[in-house]
Amino acid sequence: MRRGDMAARLRRDGGWWALLLPAFLLLSVFYITPILQVLAISFTEPEPGLGNYQRIATNLSVQRVIWTTLRICTITTALALMLGYGLAYAITLASEQARRWWLLCVLVPLWISVLVRAFAWVTLLRRQGLINQTLQGAGIIAEPLQLVWNEFGIIVGMVHYMVPYAVLPMLAAMREIEPRLLAAARGLGASRGQVFRQVFFPLSAPGLVAAGVLVFIFSLGFYITPAILGGGRTLMVAEWISLQILDLIRWGLGTMMATLLVVTILVTLAVFSRVVNMRRLFGGA
């Protein structure tokens, strides 16, 4: 009886399982395998063992790049959250008509090539760039300001990239806040500040945390913007890995850092998966 059940179920569902296969095979062969290989190389080259990982404790260059990355990512996350929160707040409270335009301001930069955006910032910020020329032309500064090819430039470009990613999860959380609650609090005599601090902010906090996690993990492995706006002087993890593999041919060290990066990201996600509904973060946009 039971065996007959299973056979019937398999006959009914077998076709559906077959539909899973192409994507699953593609992912296993051409995504998971190369990544597992990266993890493996970090333990086997140049010689088997934990040698590459000992460098975290001993190698100054390794420590410096980790520290730089964490510092830049923390600053980027904080700024992107602050700006994104303001934008999400304005979008949430806007009228239906205005909201469409506000959303376009978020979605267009989100989808425009990261290269184009970095290029725009270089055009604006470099020594003979538009900002320096304007300021010099107006007689405000005598010498051009050093706005790019340093940490300042990296952060300006990265925050610009990350704000849309901060806005979307916060917007999802804020849209569930009942607007009549705010009007009611105001009607009962709360000031604007009190309504925000005691009603709106606590209700929007889950979205804030989700956005923070998302922006932080995206920032950690960011390559193009820091490489262009840092001009090779301030190295973040991704550019450092590329340098190890392409220029110095030190696979062991490069893959060790890549492994560290993936583990940090997965652990961060796991820690916050209790607070943040990951499925909604990635699945409901």
């Binding site: 607007p179 390559y223 193009i224 990066l261």
Partner: protein, 262 residues
Amino acid sequence: MDGIYRPGWVGRALGWGTALYLVLPLFIILPVSVTDQRFLSLPHEGISLRHYAALFAAPDWFASIAQSFWIACASTVLAVGTGTLFAIACWRLNRRSTELLRALMLLPLIVPSIVYAIGLYRYFGWWDLLDRFAGVVIAHGVTGIPYVVITVSTALASFDPRLEQAARGMGASLRQVLAWVILPRIMPGIVSGAIFAFIHSWDELVIVLFIASRDVFTLPRRIWDGINENQDPIMAAVAVLLIGFTTLLLVVDMALRRKRDT
């Protein structure tokens, strides 16, 4: 929330400021692209379209645009074909195991592309796929699947599973159910996924930097070299065209969504 509660001046200022910070730097490229000068700057004496003319006359830029376009098309087909079937099967089977599989499928969004790129760099060496059209298509196709899975799953969430059961009950085969019942209803989700998979491949640089060198030289790769090496205003013309193209695709996507929602 139509106007029941309006933001105060702090909220409004922060909102406007952020929106301008997001959008203004992109607009600044437009006047730079029509400069009459030979270097990146605002127009001095008048506007000129010479850099656009130079772009269309340059065979290497044109070849890169064509190559990027065909790679994006092929990898979109790969991602949409496999990703759509995958999302439908997960939705229909709806088990704990398929939930896990779906989460696994989102990995390319979470794992930084630099990690994948160095992995492929060595892995494709064995498969003899380095610097090959097929290699880039596979890499972009696999990393494009999550976008399709997300948009198709979202479309399926509002699809009544009983329709599928009714069709099966009346004797439709799996293929007929897919072609006549499910696919037509979720078409807007599939098109959205295709648009995002296309943009993903069209803009992708990090993987290409590692697995392609001479024969495959995509548009992002050429822009990357351009940014690092010269200050040719052709770059601004390319940037303007790219912004226009992406905006166009997004507007199409928004129109489709509005159609689906009504």
